[in-house]
Symmetry: D2
Subunit: 345 residues, 4 copies
C-alpha cells in the first residue's frame, strides 16, 4: 500500500482527493492535514464521509509525515513553498496542487504572482503534471506541479492544433466558464448563495494567473512564444469548466479534418474523449469524472477553429489529475480509481 498524506484535506480540492483515495485499492490515507479543523474528525467536517472514513484531522508533523510515501499538498498559496522542500528531504514524493511548482522559469512565476519564488532551484526538477503531455517525465518525478483547472482544460483543448502546425499563433483566445467550487471553500460575499446563483460574470479579465501557465505549455508545443487572451467567468453551478477556444488557421480545413487530427493526437489517451463532428461537450458529461471532453468546429467563413473543451475542475482539474500523476509515479495503472463515468445527474 502507498501511504499518503493529504495536506489541506478540508478544502474542496483536498476533500475530493480524499473521496477519490478512499476508493483507491493501493492507497492508505495516513495523514489528513488541516489547520482549521485539526482535532476534528474529517467525517464531522464532511458528514458524507461517516461510515467511510472517520479519521481525525491534524496539524502537520514532519516526523509523522516522514513515514508516508507521497504527500498531496493542497495548501493555500505560499504555504506549500515552505513545506514541500522539507517533505522532499524526508524522502516523500510530492504532488503540489498550488501554482508554485508549475513553471519552467521563476521569472514568469514572479511576474504573475507578484512575489519572489522561495525555492527556484526546485523548479528545475519539478514536472508539470499533465500526463497527456509529460507522462514519461512524471513517471520519474519526485515533485509534481499539478496543473490548474482552467489550464488543463485549455491546454488540452488547443494542443493538437499547435502540434499539428495548422494554428496561427496570434489571436488565440480562450473564453472559459467555471463552476463555483473553483473559488474554494473560503467565505466571500461573491460566493454567498443568494449573490451567486442565477448570475454569471467575468472576472480578472486580462490578468488571471492561469494565463501564464497556458502560455507556457502552448509555447512549448508550438516552439515559439505564444500570448493569448484568457477570460475566466463564474457560472452558477458547482462543478465544471468549459473552455471555448478560438484559433485562426494558417490554411483552409474542415471539421472532419480537425476532428481526425484531435482523435489521432489523443488516440492513446483514456481520459480525453474527442467528440464526433457536430457533437459538443457539456460539463454534465464530465462532472465527477477524470475525463476531458473536446468538441471541434470549423468556421469556413473565417478559416478559424472553434474548440470547446470540458472537464470537472476538482477532478481532472485538480484531485483526479493528482491521483493520475500518483499512479504514474508509483508504477500503477494510470486509470486506477479513476475509470468511472461521473454521475451525470
Amino acid at each position: 500500500m502507498i501511504k499518503a498524506a493529504v495536506l489541506g484535506a478540508t478544502g474542496y480540492a483536498g476533500i475530493e482527493l480524499v473521496r477519490l483515495l478512499t476508493n483507491h485499492p493501493e492507497v492508505s490515507i495516513e495523514i489528513l492535514g488541516s489547520q482549521s479543523f485539526a482535532g476534528q474528525k474529517i467525517s464531522d467536517v464532511y458528514q458524507n464521509l461517516r461510515h467511510i472514513l472517520e479519521k481525525e484531522c491534524e496539524e502537520l508533523d514532519l516526523e509523522k509525515a516522514a513515514r508516508c510515501d507521497v504527500a498531496f499538498t493542497a495548501l493555500p498559496h505560499g504555504a506549500s513553498k515552505t513545506v514541500i522542500p522539507s517533505l522532499l528531504d524526508k524522502g516523500l514524493k510530492v504532488i503540489d496542487l498550488s501554482g508554485d511548482y508549475r513553471y519552467d522559469d521563476a521569472a514568469v512565476y514572479e511576474k504573475w504572482y507578484g512575489e519572489k519564488h522561495s525555492s527556484p532551484e526546485l523548479l528545475k526538477e519539478s514536472v508539470y503534471g499533465l500526463p497527456e503531455l509529460h507522462r514519461e517525465k512524471i513517471k520519474k518525478a519526485r515533485l509534481i506541479g499539478n496543473p490548474g483547472c482552467y489550464t488543463t482544460c485549455s491546454i488540452l483543448g488547443a494542443a493538437p492544433l499547435l502540434a499539428g502546425k495548422i494554428a496561427e499563433t496570434k489571436n488565440i483566445i480562450v473564453d472559459a466558464k467555471s463552476g463555483v467550487t473553483g473559488a474554494g471553500r473560503g467565505l466571500s460575499l461573491q460566493n454567498h448563495f443568494c449573490e451567486c446563483t442565477e448570475t454569471t460574470k467575468a472576472y480578472k479579465v486580462t490578468n488571471h494567473r492561469h494565463t501564464s501557465e497556458i502560455e507556457q505549455e502552448l509555447s512549448n508545443i508550438a516552439g515559439e512564444p505564444i500570448i493569448i487572451s484568457f477570460t475566466p467567468h463564474l457560472i452558477p453551478q458547482k462543478r465544471g469548466i468549459l473552455s471555448t477556444i478560438y484559433v485562426n488557421l494558417n490554411r483552409p480545413s474542415s471539421a472532419e479534418e480537425l476532428v481526425e487530427m484531435y482523435k489521432e493526437f489523443y488516440k492513446d489517451e483514456f481520459f480525453v474523449r474527442v467528440k464526433e463532428v457536430g457533437e459538443l461537450p457539456e460539463t454534465k458529461h464530465v462532472a465527477g469524472s477524470n475525463f476531458v471532453d473536446i468538441g471541434v468546429c470549423y468556421d469556413k467563413r473565417l478559416q478559424r477553429a472553434v474548440v470547446v473543451s470540458a472537464l470537472d475542475n476538482i477532478v481532472k482539474g485538480a484531485a483526479g489529475q493528482a491521483v493520475q500523476n500518483m499512479n504514474l509515479m508509483f508504477g500503477l495503472d494510470e486509470k486506477t480509481a479513476l475509470a468511472n463515468a461521473g454521475f451525470y445527474l
Copy 2:
C-alpha cells in the same frame, strides 16, 4: 460473474443502475433494455459513459434475457407486470423498481393504483426489498418489489419509534421534499428548467401512492393498522429526499433516549447513519451514496418526536437499494459497489 439485464436502462433509475453496476466487480451487464433508444449506444444517450460502457440498447428479447442471472426492471408502470412473469419463468431473479410487487395485498394496490393487478399470485412470493427490515427474506427471494424513494426514507425514519412501542400510532405525519430526478426523465412543463428552478411546491396532497406503501410497512412493524398524512413536495435540486416525520409519543422522553433507541435499532446497519443529538441530516451528505441519514429531535412541550431522514432518491431510493438487494440475493457482501461516501460537491 453475475449476468445482469437492465430493462428500462435509459430512465433515471435505470441509468443510475448502470452507473453503479459498471463499478461492480461481480457483475457483467449483458442487456441494456430500452424501447425509446433501441439501436443506439447507451454512451450516445448518456455521454458520460463514453470510454466506460459503449454497449448498444436493445428491445427486450426473452430468449436472450434467459441467459442472464438477474433482471432489474425499471419500466414504466404496468409494463413490468407483463414482462416479469416471463423473466421468472426463464429462471431469472427479478428486482422490480416499479410499485407492482411491493404490496402484501392486491386490494391495497388496486385501490391506490386504480387498476386490477395482473399477477396477484406473485405478490405472495415477492419480497419488499428493504434490507434493513427484510434481509433474510430478500436473501431467498426470486422476486423483489424494490421500495419507492419516499417510502424508504420515511419507513426507516419512523420504524424505531414504532418498534420501540413509544409511538402513538395516530397523528403520524410525513412531510417529504424531493429533488426533481424523482419525477423521471419524461418531458413535462413542470420539469422545464425555467418552471422548476427557484420554486417549491406540494403535489398530490393526501393521495400520493407511496402513502399506502409506508402505511403497509409501518403497520406491520406496529402490529396494528396505521394511517398517516404523507405530503410530497418538489424542490429545485436534482437528487435527494428529506422526510420530516412527526410522531406523538405515549410517554415523556428525551432527545438522548430517542437517539439511543435509533442507534440500537440500526446498530448493524452500514447504510443507516444515525446522527448525534443536535445533529441533523442534509441531502448533500447522502447525494450519490446509498446511505440514509437520520436525525432525531424531541419536543418536550408536545411530547412529540420530530425525525428528519435523508437519502438519495435514485441511489438508496432506487438503484442503490436494488444493487443492495442483488448483493443479498446472490450471497455477496451487501456493500459491494456501494461503500462510498457520495460526492458532497
Copy 3:
C-alpha cells in the same frame, strides 16, 4: 411626499424595501442607514440601482432622522431596541422588521430570545403588523412590529380554520420551507453557494423563534392557548416560503367547504389569493410580489385539513408587508406600489 428613513438598508430586507420604495409615488427616501457601508453609494453596493438611486449610505444621525416621517428599521437583533425609542421621541412612525416589537407579552419574548426586553412598555403600544388581521389598529399605530416571514405565511394559512371553529387546537403542525434570502446577507459556510445549492435541510427543529409568534396570533384567534410544532427548512432557492400546515378538524368536512371558508374569510383581502379546489400554490407564483397564495386540501381518511401557503419571504414576509403597513399608517391605498404580479421567471 412621505419622507422615509431606511435603517439597515443594505441587508436583504432593507434593499428590498429600497427597491419597493423607489417605485412608490408618495415616498421619498431621505436616509439610507448602513453601518457597514456608510460613505458608499447604495448603487455601488447594489449595482442594479445605478441610474435609479445613487444616494449615499450613512450612519444613523438622529437629528437628521427627525426630519423624516417614517423609519423602517431593518437592523440586526438588539440594535433596533435602542434606536426605536429615540425615533419615536423624535415624532417618527416606526416600522420595525426585527422581532423586538411583535409580542403582546415581554415574557414570551424573553423566553424565546433568551434576553431581557429593553423597552417592554412599548410592547403595549406596538401593533403586530399583519394587516389581514389587525388593519384598524395598524392605521392608528405609531410603532409596528412587522411580522416574520415564516409567521405571516403560517398564520394566514391557518387562521380561517381557527376562526371558523372547525380546527382542533391540538396537533397543529407547520412544516415550512424557506429560500436562502431568509438567512440574510451575512457570510456563513452554510450559505456558501457550493454548500447550499442542490441540498435541503431542516434546522432549529422544535426551537425556532417564529414558533412563539405563530402561537401568539393563532391563540388570539382561537381564544385559547395553542402550542404547535414548527419546523423550518432551508431549500436551494433565493426567494419564497412554502408552509404546509396540518390541522385536525373537529367534524367531517370537504375540500369544497374548506376552500369556501377560506374565500369567505379573505374575501376583502387583495393580497391573499385562495386557490380553487385541487389547485396548489408554488413559490414562483408569488416571487417578487406581495401576495400570499393558499391552497386547501382535505384528507377524508383522517378528518384533517392540509393547507399549503406560499409567499415571498422578503416581500410579503418583510419589505412588502412593511410598505403595506406604511400605506395604512399614512392613509394611502394599501396597495400603492405593491399591486404587481411578481416576476414568475
Copy 4:
C-alpha cells in the same frame, strides 16, 4: 390609452410583455393572443397574474385586432410573416419579436433562415428596433423588427469601438452566455431541469442566426463588411445574457481611454450603464430590468479590448425593448414603465 394586442402572450417573451404592460400607465391590454391556451384565462396559465390580470386568451381575430393601436407579435418563427401584413393593413403599428423584419437585405435573411422571405417589400420599411442606434427612425416607424437578445447585448457592447474607428474589423469574437428562458417555454430534453441545471454547454457554434444580425449592425456602424465569430452558450440560470467581446485595436490605448469613449458614446442613454475602470457587469445587476451594463478592459500585451456586456434577455433582449420601442412610436417618455432597478435577488 394605447390599446395593445399581445400575440403569443403565453410564451416567455409574451408573458414578460404582459408583466411590463400591466405596469404601464398609458396602455390597456385588449387582446391576449394564444393558440395553445385560447379560452383559458392568462391568470390560470401564469398564476402570478391572479388579482392583477384575469383576462382570457383568444385566437387571433383580425376584426377585433383592428380596434387596437399596436400589436406585439411574439409568435413562432414564420407565423408572424403571415399575420403582420394584415395587421398593418388594419392600421396597427406592429412590433415584431421574431427575426422576420430585422434585416435590411432579404438575401441575408434567406441565407441564415434557410427559407424564402414572404414579404421582402416590408423589409424596406421595417426599422431595426434598437433605440440606442435608430431612435429617430423608430419614432416614425409603422413596423419594428425588435432585435434578438444576443444581438442587443453584443451590438451595444461593440458599437463604440467601431464608431470610434479604433477597432480592427477583423478577428472580432463574441462569446455569449445565455440563461434558459432564451430557449423559450417549449419542452425539450435539453431544458429538462435535471439535464439543464449544474451544466454548461456551447451550441450552434459558427452558425447561430443572431450572427447575421450582429454583423449587419456592426457593418453599418463600421461602414465596411464585418464578419465575426459568435458562440452562444447555455448556462443554468433563468434570465440573463453576458457577452464577452474581443476586439483588436488599431493603435495602443488604455482602459481609461476606452471607458471614456463608451461613456461619451452612451452619454444620453438611460438604459446603458457603462462601468467604471476595473468594474465588470454581472447578470444579476440587470435581471428584471431594461438596462444593459457594459464593462471595458484593455489588454496591453495584445493591444486588444475585452468588453463584457450584460442584459436581461427577456427584458432589454425582448419585451422591455419592445415597450421602449412602443413608447418611442407613440411619443411617450421612452422610460415609461421601464425605469426600475431590477430585482437583484
